[in-house]
């Protein structure tokens, strides 16, 4: 009887991993066991057992005895390396295009990886981060009741909540308020600067673990007049002298106070929701005494560190009790007034883990980001990488055709398929390694602009660099293997006899590239259209006539707060500069351009109206070149003008006045008088950014304080004039910093975020065009290779070069048009949304689309022409001789 055979696959598996010198005896033993199993049970069971036994031999004790193999591989690797470098050097164009395409993909992926890492690291550095909570507020949305989403969330809560938490909520161990980003004048001897002040409570240092460099952590900010600095601020004011115990002056709400430096704390890293330069006790904040008793003022954030074993249900119960105790009246009123449904809560405090606030856009922490961004970015990263990989494969395929003979000879000499596979994969890995090196370079190159776009401060420390290198290296190997394996499989399939005999027809099949090219190309066209529209719109808003003259106007803040002394300083300054020849005119205003606005609401004949209000002085109109349609300007010699107003045309239309100069604007809703007399009507001008329409507005001399000085200067010696302005300012206010800006810059700054988006868009457009060109280039290459013979025959039959050129380009024009048809409506829709941000926008017209299509087609034709021209010029004798 012939002995039964054990499963062949299992045997091959064993042969593969087992060291050759051990194979015979192991296989013998297994075979013996196999025969015995057959006798004991049946063939099927025995076969199964054989498999199982083979798999159990796959263990380090056996596999790691494969010492021999490595030596052989080393030898082969040398050869592969040599062949690979020769091959790459021979096709410099392909190699470099391929490497660049891939490196762009990898660089993008690395940058996005860095971004996501950075997002994930946010606020993770505090020691007891899982105990730190932001006590936020969930409240019924009374403004726009929405049954789908009845509640709003905000991190901004009341001052007295701090005290209530400390006294009435036993779960909270430490509690601190937090108010960031108030600008104040800080003085030490002759050093005067404007600084960001951060108000906190003493517990702040118990809650967070910002490293304390100098001073006693437990005593920082214990006294109301203590101040804590970061090292850079300490150095700025005190140089190398020890800052501890020094006294600095800080102006708060117009009054200057002395503060003693009791500590130096390291500046928070970029991945922190809390940032500060100077920390002072929250008791110093404006109107603190008053605010600390009010449950109606929502202006600070409150943070708490809980006891380790705090019960979340008890905590919520106690938080609810605070609402019950202090806001009962407000709730009753609100329920009556806004008709809050019975089953809905009015307000509820919630404890949000501090590590979550960065990714929660609703709470409104500064710098918070939607986690959606990370997801979208990750998606884009993967997509770009995928596209780069597939382009890489496509390009590799076009060159592979010319290596058939090499493969044939190798096979004839005795190369095994696995070896050929290794060889091609190896080549691909080498190329991807090169791309990886370029990619790391690109990351360094683009990181600054990437940071600018994303508003981040990602830097490459060596630890992070290591991470990046590790990620990139891993990507490069995986991509190299993946991208190399397809052409390798493709090449290995050639039958040597056929190839070497010559004259076989062959066709490269890469059906997946066509839809891919359409996608890439559609993306590029989409971006081209969007960029063109954005560019037009930005040009429109920066050059549009705003109705006032913004050139050569210097804006100087008085730095004196919102009070009488500010107006006084302005008057003194104006008088001091009266005889200056380089100064054309000086005006004061409460709100300059780009500073926001203040609005008054008033009732007229039972209708709610509102108007923007600007406090100005008599020179406001001529300094800004505003034109009066009717009436006259404020007259310094008429005391009655101090209660008069000048209105804009929109206000006249809003009120429905026939004869505005005979009217009174009763914006104070004064029941005893008619209100302010209207003495003039100014032509409409864009006082706000072009995102908003022109609203009713009035100018008055007495509604508020003048906080900004507008100085119209003569062109020419601008630096000299600025020096004069500073000298005069310093004479009047030696204890305040002199700052200035130019009005046209302030106006432009309103569009900074759009500018940033535009640069992101243009960069993406360049990337997308580059990548889609690579895809097109590859596809046209494959096409040209596949049709070599056809072209030969056509030429023999009399086709000239232009015919062939058209023949080869026709389908790409078709692809481009299809992509355009996909991209254009999407771009139109998205851009319409975007233009919706602006009250003053350009209209999207067909010319823009035609322009984009033309640009897209031109790029496509330029890209594919390389192959078309090359194929068209080949001598048909070359391609046809083999048949």
């Amino acid at each position: 009887m012939k002995n039964p055979e054990p499963p062949k696959k299992a045997t091959r598996l064993l042969e593969w991993f087992c060291p050759p010198e051990l194979f015979e005896s192991i296989y013998g033993d297994l075979y013996e066991a196999f025969i015995e199993d057959i006798n004991a049970t049946n063939t099927a069971t025995a076969r199964r057992l054989f498999y199982w036994n083979v798999i159990r031999f796959f263990r380090p004790g056996i596999v790691l005895r494969n010492k021999f193999n490595l030596k052989i591989n080393n030898l082969m690797l040398n050869s592969y390396f040599k062949i690979a470098t020769r091959h790459l050097a021979k096709r410099k164009l392909y190699s470099s295009i391929n490497a660049i395409g891939l490196s762009i993909g990898i660089a993008f992926a690395i940058l996005i990886y860095l971004f996501i890492q950075d997002e994930r690291k946010f606020d993770q550095f505090h020691q007891d981060k899982e105990l730190i909570y932001n006590i936020a507020l969930k409240q019924y949305n009374t403004w726009e009741p929405n049954p789908e989403k009845p509640y709003d969330f905000t991190a901004y809560v009341q001052y007295p909540l701090r005290g209530a938490l400390k006294e009435e909520v036993p779960e909270a161990e430490y509690v601190s308020g937090l108010s960031m980003g108030a600008k104040h004048t800080v003085r030490f001897q002759d050093k005067i600067f404007i600084e960001d002040l951060t108000y906190v409570d003493q517990d702040f240092f118990q809650i967070f673990s910002f490293p304390v460099l100098q001073g006693n952590k437990n005593k920082l900010l214990k006294d109301k007049h203590d101040v804590v600095l970061t090292p850079s601020i300490a150095e700025k004011y005190f140089g190398t002298t020890n800052p501890l115990g020094q006294t600095i002056e800080i102006d708060i709400n117009g009054e200057s106070g002395d503060f003693v430096v009791t500590g130096v704390v390291e500046k928070p890293p970029a991945q922190s929701s809390i940032s500060f330069d100077i920390l002072i006790n929250i008791a110093n904040s404006s109107y603190y005494e008053e605010n600390n008793t009010k449950w109606r003022v929502y202006s600070i954030m409150v943070l708490a560190k809980l006891h380790e074993n705090a019960n979340p249900e008890r905590l919520q119960y106690n938080l609810d009790k605070i609402v019950e105790k202090y806001m009962k009246d407000a709730e009753l009123k609100a329920r009556e007034r806004y008709l809050i449904p019975e089953d809905k809560l009015f307000k509820q405090y919630i404890a949000v883990p501090f590590t979550d606030v960065h990714l929660d856009t609703e709470l409104g922490w500064p710098g918070s980001n939607d986690p959606m961004y990370s997801m979208i970015l990750a998606g884009i990263g993967i997509l770009i990488l995928l596209i780069a990989c597939i382009n890489y494969i496509t390009l590799a395929l076009t060159t592979s055709a010319s290596r058939r003979i090499e493969v044939g000879i190798r096979k004839a000499i005795g190369a095994k398929p696995a070896q050929l596979f290794q060889q091609f994969s190896f080549e691909s890995v080498i190329l991807s390694m090169v791309s990886f090196l370029i990619a790391v370079g690109l990351v360094f190159l683009f990181l600054p602009s990437f940071n600018q776009f994303t508003d981040k401060e990602i830097s490459l420390h060596w630890t992070q660099l290591l991470e990046v290198v590790a990620v990139g290296f891993f990507l490069a190997i995986v991509i190299g293997l993946l991208a190399g394996s397809y052409p390798a499989v493709f090449l290995v399939r050639y039958k040597p006899t056929k190839v070497l005999k010559g004259g076989t027809s062959y066709k490269l099949k890469a059906g997946f590239t066509k839809p891919l090219v359409i996608i890439q190309y559609a993306l590029s066209i989409f971006l081209i259209i969007s960029s063109v529209i954005m560019f037009r719109q930005m040009k429109y808003i920066t050059t549009k006539d705003l109705g006032f003259n913004k050139d050569q106007v210097v804006v100087i803040p008085t730095q004196a707060g919102w009070n009488k002394s500010s107006t006084r300083l302005f008057t003194q300054y104006k008088n001091a500069l009266a005889n200056e020849t380089d100064v054309i005119s000086i005006a004061g205003t409460s709100t300059s351009f780009g500073d926001g606005w203040s609005k008054y609401g008033y009732e007229v004949d039972g209708k709610q109206k509102a108007a923007l209000v600007y406090t100005v002085d008599t020179d406001y109109l001529n300094t800004l070149g505003l034109t009066l349609k009717q009436g006259r300007n404020f007259d310094p010699d008429r005391p009655s003008d101090s209660s008069a107003v000048i209105v804009n045309e929109t206000l006249v239309a809003d009120m429905g006045w026939e004869n505005p100069l005979e009217q009174y604007l009763n914006w104070r809703e004064d029941s005893a008088s008619l209100g302010s007399p209207v003495i003039g009507v100014v032509k409409d001008y864009n006082n706000l950014s072009l995102e908003s329409s022109i609203e009713p507005l009035f100018l008055s001399m007495k509604t508020g304080s003048i906080t900004k000085i507008l100085v119209k200067i003569r062109p020419g010696n601008i630096p000299g004039t600025l020096q004069k302005l500073e000298r005069k300012y310093k004479e009047l206010a030696p204890e305040k910093p002199f700052e200035y800006s130019f009005l046209d810059e302030d106006v432009a700054k309103q569009y900074a975020s759009y500018q940033r988006w535009m640069s992101i868009m243009s960069l993406s457009t360049v990337f997308a065009i580059l990548i889609s060109c690579l895809g097109l280039f590859g596809l046209s290459g494959i096409n040209a290779v596949n049709r070599t013979k056809e072209i030969g025959i056509r030429k023999v039959l009399g086709a000239d070069i232009s015919n062939i050129f058209i023949l080869l380009n026709r389908q790409f024009v078709f692809l481009a048009v299809v992509s355009f048809i996909i991209a254009a409506p999407a771009a139109w829709y998205i851009m319409r949304q975007w233009l919706g941000n602006f009250e003053f926008a350009i209209s999207i017209n067909w010319q823009l689309f035609a322009l984009s299509l033309a640009v897209g087609l031109l790029i496509a034709i330029l890209t594919v022409s390389y192959h078309a021209i090359k194929s068209a010029f080949i001598n048909p004798a070359e391609t046809l001789k083999t048949e």
Partner: protein, 109 residues
Amino acid sequence: MEKDYLGEFEELVLTVVGVLHDDAYGNAIVKEIKDQLDREVNLSAVHVTLYRLEDKGLVKSHMGGASEKRGGRRKRIFTITNAGLSILHDMQARRIKLWKLLPQIKFTS
């Protein structure tokens, strides 16, 4: 004087190699352990242990005869070396010495 520590399984396999004398190969060892000790061991574990013992110089191997029962493959026959024997002796001696130190427990009724 012991250079290497022998694990329980290593000692078992080494002993069985000695017991089987000139007929010790993978399957024979598995079978012997099952017959003598009624213990199921895995063939691959035995192989790995044999190679390890060979690395330590406690056994040596040569290729033996082929048989049809093995599909024409030869056996790798392991024999115990002098070092292997001495380590077994040594371990046995120590164990007896230790055993003698164990207080004699009397079984009382």
